[in-house]
Amino acid sequence: MEVESAQSRSNMVSQIVKPEQFFQVAFQSLRETDPAAAWVQLVRDTAMDRFELLGFPSIAIEDWKYTNLASWAKTNFTPATKQSSLAAKVVNTPTFAETTQSQLVVVNGFLREDLSSKEALEQIVAVDLFNAIGDARYSKIVREYVARNANYHDSGMVALNTAFLSSGVFILLPRNVELAQPIHVLYVADGVRDNEVSFPRLLVVAEENSSASLIETFISTGDAPYFTDAVAEIVLNEGARLEHYRVQRESSNSLHIGKTSAELGRGSSYDSTAINLGARLSRHDISVVLDHEGAECRVDGLYITSSEQHADTHSVIDHKQPHCNSHQLYKGILDGNGRAVFNGIIFVREGAQKTDAMQTNKNLLLSDRARVDTKPQLEIYADDVKCAHGAAVGQISEDELFYLATRGIEPAVGRNLLTYGFAEEVIGKIKVDSIRKAVDEAVLRQLKTVLVS
């Protein structure tokens, strides 16, 4: 279906190269410059085939009904190359007090060891994903897990990322290692060349009873329009624990499409917080598979859209085994012409008894022109479960503003205070102090206000 529609769009405007063909040229070039092990090349080739077939998703697909990529799909994007990444001058990369010695900097999708600091990461493995494939110590484990949970057969965007696999980050948390310092993976789009696309890729494998905090931050240092097509795969083995913060602060000229896939082992714990502030159009797909007993997850997030921004979150939490818990809270603040989409589905498979699943999506509309489409869904095939879900869309009430006004707080400030408070329920759970503060500041800046500390 969408292939036809992509073609008809191309036919309407003559002399436009079909984007898929444009990517094909770059792909052939990549095959020559970055040859890979045979199995990787097979994965890349298969993924490229899938992308050529699927292309950019169109609104004819149910999952993309409210997020229209048509104008982006017509853009002739140029995949970033290792050369351009190495040449990129990236200065003043933000860091956090807690991560000065545990920071991996990825520029235009390529890990830059020269900009990274790994002093506090000696207990773990944190290396270039593509290099790990060729490294005898890691090739087996990478082969087992890469492109396993982030399915490229059904998603054109994941397929495109997979086809261009030539760098990225591989993190291995060895058995029983409890990493004190949070790991910060900072993705920088240098935003120098128009319409460059980069393919950040992360694979985290946490062995038995390991634990860590991981922060992914997406930023840009330039003004050119660009496209980030990111994939993160996370595997938690038995008893492993991961706190995962994903902070998307791309430039307002960008398209950001991200996929996070987590697979949870027995008794493991995954706590995800996705903060979506940036990009002109962003889409984040997060899927968590609870495939072993006793696993638990929190899948929380906050999206803020202002002016012409569009933010789409699609979440799938799949309870496949009994005695697993999931808790989800996503909040959205929409201003101006901002639009957001929240689509969350929880599956409770047959036999997944004693599942405890809870899903909430709350939205605050600050303008009459803002719009949100929210769809929380539960599909339950087991009978002894505790599940609840709900969605709410509201505005700041006159009574709340009046209460604040009777304390001398003028309505404009009162609105900001209430909006900030609304966001705080999600931000407040961030356990890494300086990241919570940074997100706080970014939110306040986006809400165009300065508030009490």
Binding site: A405, T406, R407, G408, E410, P411, L418, G421, L451, V452
Partner: protein, 258 residues
């Protein structure tokens, strides 16, 4: 300090206040009593400037200024405070943040120095003693998950921090058990000074055992039906409100102006 002249007000086109006259001087405590629906909470809300109520006639002078021309936050900055019957919850904003913001808005308005979080913490600790609130309340979100009594104590804490010149307490006793009532009333009494004035809006006489008023005004059907000293409250406690309504209907007195 406050002069209310022939005040008419209502909501959604329905008249509730039908000609209120009231004068309040510095250092006085006035109780506004009356049966449900008599308009006593409306009077409190109109003084604070609730946007849903419309004033249709009359005037309110506060320190010689036309109070009704001021926006609600301007009234607050000028020293008018209202303790709510149902305080609003503000999730995600800590009590300390909220109080410091409010306090500093007032400081700014007066042209005085704002306090940083540490300085304010000291001030807050001092003022919190007035209502016997411990430090854990300061880091919790404003009123969120507070019990009824805690919410009312929090209202009086706000009053203690903001030091209003005119405080309107709207049914502050509702939903309080006797211990909480004593704490709340004790807090209000500590905040009484020769320079401020307090209006206590209440249905029951009970609160007035603790906050002893100088004057009692009884509202019925949007008018002041009877006025007197603190003994009037006791009389009402004994006889109920019916005799006032009967008297009002019987005599046809529209309002007893002071």
């Amino acid at each position: 300090m406050l002069e209310i002249r022939d005040l008419h007000a209502g909501i959604d086109g329905k008249d509730i206040l039908k000609g209120i006259n009231l004068t309040i001087n510095k250092g006085e405590v006035h109780a506004i009593m009356g049966p449900n629906g008599s308009g006593k909470s409306t009077l409190a809300k109109v003084l604070a400037g609730h946007p849903q109520y419309q004033v249709t006639a009359g005037e309110v002078l506060y320190n010689g200024k036309n109070l009704l021309e001021l926006a609600p936050h301007e009234r607050a900055l000028e020293g008018v405070f209202m303790a709510f019957q149902y305080p609003i919850e503000v999730p995600g904003v800590s009590n300390a943040q909220f109080l410091r913001l409010a306090y500093n808005e007032k400081q700014k308005h007066r042209g005085e120095d704002e306090l940083d979080p540490l300085e304010f913490k000291d001030l807050l600790k001092e003022r919190a003693k007035v209502v016997e609130m411990d430090a854990s309340f300061m880091t919790r979100s404003v009123n969120e998950g507070f019990s009824g009594g805690e919410k009312k104590r929090n209202e009086i804490l706000q009053m203690a921090v903001l030091e209003p010149q005119l405080a309107v307490l709207d049914e502050t006793d509702s939903g309080l058990d006797i211990d909480a009532l004593r704490v709340v009333a004790g807090g209000v009494n500590q905040l009484r000074t020769p320079d401020n004035a307090i209006i206590v809006v209440t249905h029951y006489q009970r609160l007035l055992n603790y906050i002893v008023p100088d004057f009692v005004h009884v509202l019925a059907d949007g008018r002041i039906a009877r006025e007197g000293g603190k003994e009037l409250a006791l009389e009402l406690e004994e006889k109920g409100y019916d005799w006032i309504r009967a008297e009002q209907n019987g005599s046809g007195v529209s309002a007893i102006a002071k």
